[in-house]
Amino acid sequence: MATMNMIQALNSAMDAMLTKNADVLIFGEDVGYFGGVFRATDGLQKKHGRQRCFDSPIGEAGIVATAIGMAAYGLKPVIEIQFADYIYPAYDQIVSAAARLRYRSAGDFTCPLTLRSPYGGGIFGGQTHSQSPEALFTHVCGIKTVIPSNPYDAKGLLISAIEDADPVMFFEPKRIYNGPFDGHHDKPVQPWSKHPLSDVPDGYYTVPLGKAGIAREGNDLTVLAYGTMVHVALAAAQETGIDAEIVDLRTLIPVDIETITQSIEKTGRCVIVHEATRTSGFGAELTALVQENCFYHLEAPIERVTGWDTPYPHAFEWQYFPGPDRVADAMRRAMEA
């Protein structure tokens, strides 16, 4: 057991898997000698050798394409896309190849690759270092989408993703790499070390894909959230005093419908929170699922608290970010309806 922040936990997951399985290898822009611009692969090349963790050309399509070829061969590539905003050049390879390979070959070829990428705002990255593109992957059958909210989950989920038989998009909320940010940007930053989920086992362990966690139990209202927004929702619950149940989805596809319906059948009210732009965001799918599965339990309209339908503006970081006040407002609206 050690105290780890998210970066250390992710690094530890990759270290464990490089040690455990010779078919695991890591590549991406600046991940080799340098250890990645967020230092997630720090020391891995030195420890495991140049062939196990190396730099790639700046070509996201190529990173994914070669990983697909490697996965089809039988390796377990773990690739890094430096920022989620730069996934789009690889979108075709992900959607048309990685996601389809098992199906179109009737299982003859498979594609067990893991794509890690920092996503989300909160670090003044402007519109090209702040995006949350997860919904663009949840619409694509054949891939899984995973988003951790704390060091313990991050390590366990990443190991599960690497061991999964199918391609997994693993989005890392970069704003909480170093501490559990709750949206109060004007307050001092908390380090992970003060948070219980920074207690992370040193070796191998897994957190299963497809299972949500309950970040806070409650009876009055359900908040569905993931990544950074789990911490924002926790703050909002505390500040409003509303007895909210906060579901940390952890996996978006396949989503844990049981945990969701159980919670909403109990509370009858639902607020969905994400940082991505609203229209056709994953919140739309969650809304649809909740109303399809729990229509007769709903006592109020489902609320969505999301990023606006604009790019992420550099100077208006905190006006854009769906912070605790906006979540609190939505929770109150849901309670009052």
Binding site: L25, A65, I253
Partner: protein, 410 residues
């Protein structure tokens, strides 16, 4: 604005359109045997002449010439001839089956048979192939059951791909044949990844991959060259320049300004341009490239200069955009015809034997077709179970797909 001549936009246009007389006299065809054969550890930049010219072995005299002559044994050549003939007859039968309404779509490789068949001969059976839709010859040469090929084309109950793929999008890991995708060029870069994996594992299997002239415009073509060069991946990067991409001639892909092989040189990859209708030349350059890959010298680019003798697919009517008799004017002849004449010139083959072989293959294919059709044709209702439609999206079926299957009532 300054007082300057105005700019103007250049739109490439092929020399001939329907109604014109085809004329390929602008294509410089070097004599067979004329091109030098460098050592396999040649520097990329020292292959420039080879990337701009055309490596040819079989001459007009039906004899082999020059340093690229591969000196093949007779059995190998005869097998090559048979495989090319089988490919052509298979194509004809399946084309006809589509016209008879037995399936939705078909694509021939007529005139390009040497490219897949000679390469299959030059590669090891274990080497991995990432083909396009015009290398069905690989499967035939590697002994993939023809009935299975047909069942895939018919999307019937025995289709190994369970009716999921458009006809001709075969897949067979066992035969080292990567699942074909409808999306052009993607696989070219994936092939490099497979090759990198093989090198990573200190395996000894190399990779060969093919792409059409038109498809080289895609970003993934570039990706493949960059990654292959950087990591010296053991891969043969074949460009099949058959002059056309549906209705667009190769000038629309940049063929007006350069050869496709020349692209490889720019990336630091030794590159060759070969007469794609010359079985022996294709064999020879493939062997050279394979030797490079096996010696850890990295990738090779090969441009196969050939001609798409028929329509793009059953959905196409080439007489709308090119002279109807252009194929006949093609100066590099037909690969089957040329190999046949070579064997005859060697005194090891005859017209009578050729006709007999043709007949034998035809019968074999008819028999296979009969068997395949006994398992159904598209629309005949003989399909894999509808249940299978929901399988293989993931290894384990998640709840939402299971529910959808239930919703469908299967």
């Amino acid at each position: 604005m300054k007082n300057r001549a105005p700019l103007s936009l250049h739109i490439p246009e092929p020399k001939h359109r329907p109604g014109d007389r085809p004329d390929f006299s602008d294509i410089k065809v070097p004599k067979a045997g004329e091109m030098r054969r460098p050592d396999i550890n040649v520097a990329a930049k020292d292959t420039l002449d080879l990337a701009y010219s055309l490596i040819r072995v079989l001459g007009e005299d039906n004899e082999v010439h020059g340093p690229w002559a591969p000196m093949l044994d007779l059995e190998l050549m005869k097998r090559g001839l048979r495989n090319m003939m089988t490919t052509r007859i298979y194509d004809d039968r399946m084309y006809r089956a589509q016209r008879q309404g037995k399936t939705s779509f078909y694509m021939k490789c007529t005139g390009e048979e040497a490219i897949a068949v000679a390469q299959a001969a030059a590669l090891d059976a274990e080497d991995m192939c990432f083909p396009t839709y015009r290398q069905q010859g690989l499967l035939i040469a590697r002994g993939y059951p023809m009935v299975d090929m047909m069942c895939q084309v018919y999307s019937n109950e025995r289709d190994p791909l369970k009716g999921r793929q458009l006809p001709i999008m075969y897949s067979s890991k066992k035969h080292g044949f990567f699942s074909i995708a409808g999306n052009l060029a993607m696989h070219f870069a994936q092939a490099v990844g497979w090759a990198m994996a093989s090198a990573y594992k200190n395996d000894d299997r190399i990779v060969s991959t093919w792409i059409g002239d038109g498809s080289t415009a895609e970003g993934d073509f570039h990706t493949a060259l960059v990654f292959a060069a950087v990591y010296r991946a053991p891969v043969i990067l074949n460009i099949v320049n058959n002059q056309w991409a549906i209705s667009s001639y190769q000038g629309i892909a940049g063929g007006e300004e350069s050869t496709f092989a020349a692209r490889g040189v720019g990336h630091g990859i030794p590159s060759l341009r070969v007469d794609g209708n010359d079985f022996l030349a294709v064999y020879a350059v493939t062997k050279w490239a394979a030797d490079r890959a096996r010696a850890n010298l990295g990738p090779t680019v090969i441009e196969h200069f050939t001609y798409r003798a028929e329509g793009h697919s059953t959905s196409d009517d080439p007489s709308r955009y090119r002279p109807a008799d252009e194929a006949k004017a093609w100066p590099l002849g037909d690969p089957i015809d040329r190999l046949k004449k070579h064997l005859i010139a060697l005194g090891k083959w005859s017209d009578a034997e050729h006709t007999a072989l043709e007949k034998e293959i035809d019968e074999q294919i008819r028999a296979a077709q009969k068997e395949a059709e006994s398992h159904g044709t598209l629309g005949s209702g003989k399909l894999p179970s509808v249940k299978t439609m929901f399988e293989d999206v993931y290894k384990e079926m998640p709840w939402h797909i299971r529910r959808q299957r239930q919703e469908m009532g299967v």
